[in-house]
Amino acid sequence: MTQPPYKAPLLESPLHSRTAPLCLGNEWTRWGGYASVDTYLNTEHEYFAIRNAATLFDLSPMRKYRVSGPDAARYVSRLVTRDVDGLRPGRVAYAVWCDDLGKVLDDGTIFRFGPDEFRICSQERHLCWFLDCAIGYDVNIEDVSERIAAISLQGPRSFKVVQALGLNDCRTLKPFDMTHFDFDGGPMTISRTGFTGDLGYEFWLASEKAVSLWDRLMEAGQAYGIRPIGSRALDLARIEAGFIVPLVDFMPAGEALRPSRGRSPFELGLDWLVDFGKGHFVGRRALLAEKERGRGRRVVGLDIAGNKPARDALIYAGRSKQVGAVTSAMWSPTCKRNIAIATLDRPYDTMTEGLWVEIYVDKERKWEKAMAPCRIAARPFFKPPRRSATPPLDY
């Protein structure tokens, strides 16, 4: 039965039949038109499972674009700011892409399947931009989001779950490696990637096989304390990992109404993702000019005194000069630090002392303002050896 559009519900992920019954708190959020679990029942439990056991996150609403054809490599190199020539088949890379002004449109991961085949994954939809970037290139771009489901298995014990499934070959996977298996008679790709800064794997396979994989993972993970997690717990882990999120830590240039809201890779602290030596790419001329001029601001990590999360707090140099704002903040239970991701105007982004955060604290509906000193801190805030150890450490 078709419903009129104004009654059309959010789309359901291929895993909805599994995630919905487990979402006991019925807390959902929207992600690219899909209903996505915010919290199954308790965010803290889910968060601690990421850091101490194993977790499953339904990654299916992620947009996935298949890029193939003789010019595929040249095309990807034009699209993103980083070098992709050095990206070997079987490897994954984090990348951002910019508009003509060198402002970031979105970030995502690039999977190289072969010399002429890539998959680009991003949170938001970009088919129009990707197609326009392809003008003049012999390349085929296909939105395969609906066809491919994805499950993220994260946590120190995630390799144990992988092993229990009999996928021992994953032992040699280094971070950003991927490999392919046969699953229920179809192809399945496993990449050692994730958004938690922890040991973890992401599984990519045909949507119709996703439920079967989910069931197998849940079953295999029983002995390792596996638990599904929603996006709130994931968000805590990603702040500890120091990752930035579009629409949270910066405005994607394509969404911003105010022209000054766009942010360049330099302003996002992603200098290492810009390769001027590879030939032209979209935004190159603007970024070169910015490099010469110097960035106007920068995304930084902050270490804040006290234990009050500095959500949406303003940052001052001294007591009164506003020089930036916090975009993500939390008390990190794992680091035992009060951490934040913030944007600071130049030259305050290199200030070693004298930065203050203005935090509003709710003491049982009585609001108080606290001025807490802070200092710029390296990201990731949390960087355990298990994140990159290969073969995986025994937990």
Binding site: R74, D99, D100, D132, G136, Y137, A286
Partner: protein, 524 residues
Amino acid sequence: MSAAFDVIVVGGGHNGLACAAYLAKAARRVLVLEAASDVGGAAANREIAPGFTVSACAHLLHSLHPKVIADLDLTRHGLSLSASDIPTVALDTGGKHVVLRRDQVMESLTAHSAADAAALPAFYRRFMSYAAVLQPFLTAVPPRLGGGGRQDRLTLIKLAWAVRKLGRQEMREFLRVIGMNVADILEEAFESDLVKGALALDGVLGTSFGPRSPGSVFTLLYRLAGEAGGLRGALAHPRGGMGSLTQALASAARASGAEIRCGAPVARILAEEDRTSGVELRSGERFAAPTVVSNADPRVTFLSLLGAEHLDTGFVRRVSNLRQRGLVAKLNLALDGLPSFAGLKEADMGGRLVIAPGIDYLERAFNHSKYGEYSEHPAVEITIPSIHDRSLAPEGKHVLSAVVQYAPYDLKRNWDDAREAFTDLAVETIAAYAPDLPRRILARQVVTPLDLERDYGMTGGHWHHGDLALDQLLMLRPVPGAAQYATPLPGLYLCGAGAHPGGGVMAAAGRNAARQVMAMEGVA
């Protein structure tokens, strides 16, 4: 590759030649590479039968910029007019034609409509005063909006001041009409369909507009901003056909030291280290130069010759979306004698004869083009240049040159199949006024928009390298990011009709581009 040239000009149309001449005069070493066997582009002659020469595409001068004529001393290089300030004759099926010439009230107009005769001078003066607002900007580099410098702000202030200088009342009126359609404005001023049709034609000629399309008033004003033979809004015939103008430009360029090679089609504009380094011909031969100026249309320049790989996506998107759908065909006839137009005085035969008897006639003709058909009853602009210029045809014989509109580039039928039927239709349309025309034809030729694309390299067969419309003019021409002749690729410039101030055998784009190159590029 050692650079023997400072500048390579891709394409030897009138703008490319003007640009080359200006640069050569400024002691730049210039090479012009033209694909065809002779210079001229769409401002060239064609011999349609032995001894019969006709302007292949563009056939009347109304905008050739006087600065270009003076700066390049074109008169000394052979430019002359065989007729100037020629009248426009609105052909009437009943033989009661109306003669129009700028603000002059002719007897035929008074006889046709006393009210229109009374209205014409005031209407004309008002429109000329509006056109005068635009006129200085034809030779200015369009201002950059936002992030521009002092010069950009100055140009904008000048534009605002030019509008303000009209006076409160006229400024208001200017702002009211500027985005309007030409049909509405003519309905306000005139009663005669014949007069309205003839005047409306100038608002839609060479565009993808009908008279009721918004912005057609602006197109009309833009045309009136030009001048010919020292008169604003006038029309003139170049002696020897349009090809003689481009020969004069080529001569001026050569005299200053520019080298011109014909039969040298450029296949690629080369770039190294994010800068132009030269060009490669279709033959594979390469020429090095630090600066390349393209007379080709923006789409050909950026997407075919240079390649999107050197450009950002937003820019490529804008270039791909340029409205550049040619809607005009050219009919060239060799005649064994003058056709007789019923009721037309012999003195008026040398004028511009237009078949556009009414706004509705034009709008209906336009309707077809929207759906990939040519007009059932097209609008036609006819000239018989051999009346003024005996060099164009053998003794006692003539050539007829006509612009036929609308004939869309993207015809549903294949143009090669439709060519004969369309030619018949065009001849029949004229024959309705000059019944003896068909039997006087010795040779006939039609240049369709598809021919224009194939033979002259103009995308979409569009004369002006993109519609001359409000959204594609001034700082929006051809697209933001390339509207000041310089392009996103350092060292590459535009000088063709796709750049400000656009087409219409004006040569101002070529001149302005040359000045911008001189301002931005040093001498090697």
